[in-house]
């Protein structure tokens, strides 16, 4: 289908190929002719392999003993003991208690240290120079084993086509399955790009991949060394990760709108990015179109003299029928039971320092720390207040091998049962 679309676009606008032919003809076919970009040159494969080793405290989950409230995932943060860049946790074993779809994926390690192939990722990009069209696919393999046996997954994480209709403007239109447009953390989704290992406590709301259409426009302001960008999308599920809201189908028939307005300052010694994001549309974890989700957030990333400070804030609301009314729930991990009104406020601030120490083989060294805070409430349940301190180190060798180690210190506050769920995790990422 994608190939047909490319062919159709080529047929609709034959001018570039025609121009090259004309140029060769004018040269008589005997003089010097620049080599024609071939299909192979337009097609590029890249990827990475992320091998991890992680150990979590306790039983690897956030579920506290003797907390028999139902659903079990409403009174704690099941996402806290993350072990890799996918946000998968050491365990999501609720101890035999019912959960209602507010769950991460688990590597199933529990409290045992284990090696993991976190992700084996393959990117395929087809970008012929003759046409303003690019096609991209990212396929990922996650070997997993659980009490149910082999749980290996193959995920088509991204698959989209992008058209840049104007050669003199940064304007593109993408359709397919693509990155979120909310905030800035989605830029670091992949393990080979992310400085650290684990995502923030709010990443579950902002870094998902969904299916729809996206428009990006950036205008440069050279006199001010600045740029202003706009990124808007209409998708099936919004910006949440697939575990919370399945992206593959619009359950309501109405798309979710999301967008970010950004400002960039690009000085020689200082770079800054600021942005405001928003999201509104129906929840995509129910077929009840009257239940909306909406969110707003702000983000900033400032880099100067090897130091980078980045942070993000979000306030998100999931509506549910008021009063006596109830609606059924359906998440990316299957059926839940009923949707519940939910709201969360949270954010993080991360400081990283690129140590100015490089050699032929040591191509990067960074230290980083992050503070996360999240307050979330399902209506009728006590507020889940958590914070997390993360500290880590990243060493990059030969510009293709990243070695990372990280400690996560999760703290339950307020009415949240205390549970041992700190994590040590490490990752070796080979990029090719």
């Amino acid at each position: 289908m994608t190939g047909l679309m490319v062919l159709a676009l080529l047929a609709a606008d034959p001018a570039p190929a025609q121009a090259v032919d004309d140029e060769a003809s004018e040269n008589g076919g005997e003089g010097y002719t620049p080599p024609q970009p071939t299909v192979l040159q337009a097609l590029r494969f890249t990827g990475y392999v992320d091998v991890g080793f992680a150990a979590a405290q306790g039983n690897g989950s956030s579920f506290a003993p003797n907390d028999f409230r139902i659903p079990a995932d409403y009174g704690v943060d099941p996402f806290a003991p993350a072990v890799n860049s996918r946000g998968e946790v050491a365990s999501n074993d609720s101890g035999g208690r019912f959960v209602n779809g507010f769950m991460p994926r688990s590597v199933g390690a529990g409290g045992n240290p284990t090696f993991l192939i976190n992700t084996a990722s393959v990117d395929a990009r087809f970008a012929p120079t003759q046409v303003p069209v690019m096609v991209f696919m990212r396929m990922q393999f996650m070997p997993r084993f659980s009490s149910a046996g082999n749980q290996t997954r193959v995920l088509l994480q991204q698959a989209f086509g992008k058209v840049n209709p104007f050669s003199n403007a940064e304007f593109s239109l993408s359709v397919g399955k693509f990155d979120s447009v909310f905030g800035i953390e989605y830029l670091d989704n992949e393990a080979n790009i992310r400085t650290g290992i684990t995502p923030s406590l709010i990443a579950r709301y902002t870094t998902g991949h969904s299916i729809g259409a996206k428009l990006f426009y950036r205008i440069q302001l050279p006199a001010l060394w600045s740029a202003i960008s706009l990124n808007v999308a209409g998708t099936n599920s919004g910006t949440r990760i697939e575990e919370l809201a399945g992206p593959d189908l619009s359950l309501t028939g109405v798309p979710v709108g999301s967008g970010r307005l950004g400002y960039e300052l690009n000085l020689k010694a200082v770079q800054a990015k600021l942005g405001f994001s928003g999201l509104i549309g129906p929840r995509n974890d129910t077929r009840d179109v009257r239940s909306k989700q909406w969110a707003y957030g702000a983000d900033a990333r400032i880099t100067a003299f090897g130091l980078t400070v980045s942070g993000e804030l979000i306030h998100l609301v999931d509506e549910a029928p008021e009063g006596a009314q109830r609606a059924l729930k359906q998440t990316g991990l299957g059926l839940g039971e009923l949707i519940t009104a939910f709201q969360v406020s949270g954010g993080y601030v991360q400081l990283q320092y690129a140590v100015p120490l490089t050699t032929d083989w040591l191509t990067g060294l960074a230290l980083y720390g992050r503070y996360d805070r999240r307050n979330a409430t399902f209506r009728g349940f006590s507020t889940v207040e958590t914070e997390r301190f993360t500290a880590g180190l990243r060493i990059e060798l030969f510009a293709m091998l990243a070695i990372k180690a990280e400690g996560l210190f999760n703290r339950e506050l307020g009415s949240v049962p205390t549970v041992p769920n700190d994590v040590f995790t490490s990752s070796v990422v080979f990029t090719w």
Partner: protein, 329 residues
């Protein structure tokens, strides 16, 4: 696609969605405006002036009983058992796991008896979950608006408890009043499953059933362990409803609806007649036999007797409720 075309496409999308479910906790019955929830009018099950739940007439296993309705659900999944933490002798405190505002509120609680420490404050689950505790019985305790009680003294005990750090009132209808299903075959509780709760009914103008709320319900055969019930409407045919001789209003209403309500013998003792008000018999001829009444009647006053009727006369509804049984003098 042009923007206008996109707008038309979006406008064509259904904005109604699938039918919703409903949950009405006790507090819903005490709103100022009368309402009907699952076929029950609030004015008939709760007295908003006196803040009392109103005793409802019923029969169960051939015995005259009563019941209090404390919650009603419609088109709703079965209820989960929630925890309630009882802090024993030291604190004499109770902590409910969830509030009535929760989508997962349920009046069916598993008691966890906690060994608390003297001198400490326990007002939420996170304060007790690390303490020693043992699994206690199931209790049926609806959280109710402050001051609400039953219209018959002693039918339920009143209490005050914590939920999420705040104080709430509750009623207790006793222990072991509901059987819980194990969750996925494990040791922990799952949902409660409804037993059949029969209301006699007529066919409505829309082809549906119209429950006759004036007539006593028929509770499950073991009502003391099945407070959670599903409303099943029983369409009356040739059966007859016993109406005391002097109650011409009820007789006229039933007769107008096509329900058999023959005049009983005037020799039947008035107090006996009152006890059988609304009692449904397979054949009303026995109402004329004062000497043999009531034993000569074949009553439809047990789950077994009602279930002998043809299946198409028993219409299961999507309404479930907590029908807390009580004995009556």
């Amino acid at each position: 696609m042009r923007p206008t075309a996109l707008l038309f496409l979006l406008a064509a999308c259904s904005l109604d969605g699938p039918p919703r479910g409903f949950a009405w906790p006790t507090a819903s019955f005490f709103r100022s405006e009368p309402a009907t929830f699952g076929g029950f009018t609030t004015s008939s099950i709760a007295n908003n002036t006196t803040k009392e739940l109103v005793l409802q007439p019923a029969w169960g296993s051939g015995q005259r009983l009563g019941y209090y309705v404390t919650e009603i659900w419609q088109n709703h999944p079965d209820l989960w058992v929630q925890p309630v933490y009882l802090l024993g002798a030291v604190q004499n405190e109770t902590i409910f796991g969830v509030d009535t505002e929760s989508t997962f509120y349920s009046p069916f609680w598993r008691a966890w008896v906690v060994t608390a420490q003297a001198g400490k404050t326990y007002d939420r689950v996170s304060a007790v979950n690390e303490l020693p505790m043992w699994r206690g019985p199931m209790v049926v305790c609806p959280i109710v608006p402050s001051g609400v009680t039953t219209d018959r003294a002693g039918a339920a005990s009143r209490g005050v408890a914590f939920v999420n750090g705040a104080r709430v009132d509750y009623l207790s209808f006793g222990t072991d009043r509901q059987i819980a299903e194990p969750f996925e075959g494990g040791d922990l509780d799952g949902v409660v499953l409804p037993a059949d709760f029969h209301l006699f009914a007529t066919r409505g103008a829309d082809g549906g059933t119209e429950p006759l709320r004036e007539l006593p319900a028929v509770l499950p055969d073991d009502p003391w362990h099945h407070a959670y019930v599903r409303r099943v409407d029983v369409l009356l045919g040739a059966e007859a409803v016993f109406v005391p001789l002097g109650d011409t209003v009820l007789r006229a209403k039933l007769t107008a609806l096509g329900v058999q309500a023959p005049e009983p013998s005037n020799l039947i003792d008035a107090s006996l007649a009152e006890q059988h008000r609304g009692h449904v018999a397979a054949d009303g001829a026995c109402f004329a036999d004062a000497a043999g009444f009531p034993s000569t009647c074949q009553w439809l006053d047990s789950e077994g007797s009602v279930k002998q009727l043809a299946d198409n006369r028993r219409v299961a509804t999507d309404v479930t409720l907590t029908a807390n049984p009580v004995t009556v003098p």
